[in-house]
Symmetry: C2
Subunit: 240 residues, 2 copies
């Protein structure tokens, strides 16, 4: 779904509705909108001018060692609730939301010159607001996912994942059900919202101006879950 | 794509071609077959009868502590090239292929009673063989992905990922290209094969007999890459 460049204060739901109409998309009950974090952040004004940032000594040292912009590193450190790894030029941090990701979600690509984009303050709230407006505009129930591309331990390459979720259950729990051999499934909870986000990554190119996608024909259950449900609690996590 | 139950020695390519014909699927240049690891393992006879396994003392101790089947734990330990985490009842291991995953890929769900499924010996080779046979049968170039559902650190739920890849480049490298703001992208390599695997997870349910999917309309490049390219080398990995 192509969109014009998004600016702070823009009504993102309206832009999405207009884009869908331009493309003659017919929305059906249970369709899912996946919206790139970068346009949500832009609409919500989560843009920081780098010349407003005074780097700390820690940011200066790290930036000098790894040839980074110290103002960006300072932003990363400020956005981090805790540092999970900080070595070899890579910063993996836990954000205040609880996401563990590179650079605490601070992004300088896809941002205007001399600025950086921060993650939305509350991606679930952003998703809920969009979900209500889109459902009203189209007259059908839709799911909404706010997505970002994250790296993963052990595997190369980025994949799109779900940060904020509204209008659908993000996890599908098969535990207690039986497989075709009659065996009880014990550990099978599928991250449906992450699979939907990844699928949308196939059409949301990094270079094209395609910051949103509509997925048809998916079975979502209108659960009350949120993107938070996809974050593993620290006490259950073996990799912090 | 529905399939009959797969047994050791079955010609999987033939079963997939027959299923596609039954469903009147027209294969187009660049379509991608995603095939669940479990049917590849079954066809390749990677099934172990649990009564043939003599658990070691280590497997017995762990199994007793966490109420597991010691024969399955023994298999997990045998399949593991190294243990990444072994605590709180969870075993995260690196397999001989280099995958880091729960239980070294040993699966007792979706396997006949009193048996366990191991990962294919060489998922890339399995993918290549299927790719050649399917391309010949349909007369068009297709990509093939052998997929499995893996958990992730930090995030709840499983997602489908690519173990073996043939007929397509598994990674798409945007580095050096410019975003819409004219900035050079520095860290953007997308795990296309994993996004395709995740997308197929949307139709390959855990309970339905849908162990394969065909994805239309995807832009793949006919690279010579393989699933190994998706494995981050240990020296670049911060989470071992």
């Amino acid at each position: 779904m192509g969109l014009p460049e998004v600016a702070p204060g823009d009504d993102l739901a309206r832009l999405l509705v207009e884009a869908a109409k331009r493309q003659s998309l017919v929305l059906r009950q249970g369709d899912v909108f996946v919206v790139a974090q970068k346009i949500v952040s832009k609409a919500e004004g989560r843009i920081v001018r780098l010349d407003s940032i005074e780097p700390s000594e820690r940011a200066e040292r790290w930036a000098a060692e790894y040839h980074k912009d110290p103002r960006v590193i300072e932003l990363v450190l400020r956005e981090a609730a805790s540092i999970v790894r900080m070595e070899r030029g890579v910063i993996i941090a836990k954000t205040r939301h609880g996401f563990v990701c590179a650079n605490a979600g601070v992004d300088i690509s896809n941002a205007p010159a001399e600025t950086a984009l921060l993650l939305p303050e509350n991606p679930d709230r952003s998703a809920r607001m969009l979900q209500e407006q889109l459902a009203r505009a189209f007259g059908v129930h839709v799911g909404v996912i706010i997505s970002d591309t994250f790296g993963r331990p052990w595997r190369e390459g980025l994949v799109n994942v779900a940060l904020g979720v509204a209008g659908m259950a993000p996890l599908v729990d098969y535990r207690g059900q039986r497989d075709p051999h009659g065996k009880m499934l014990q550990a099978t909870v599928i991250a449906l919202a992450d699979e939907l986000a990844a699928a949308s990554g196939l059409v949301m190119g990094k270079l094209d101006r395609v910051p949103a996608a509509v997925l048809h024909g998916v079975t979502i259950s209108e659960g009350s879950g949120s993107g938070r449900d996809l974050i593993r609690p620290a006490e259950k996590d073996l990799f912090r």
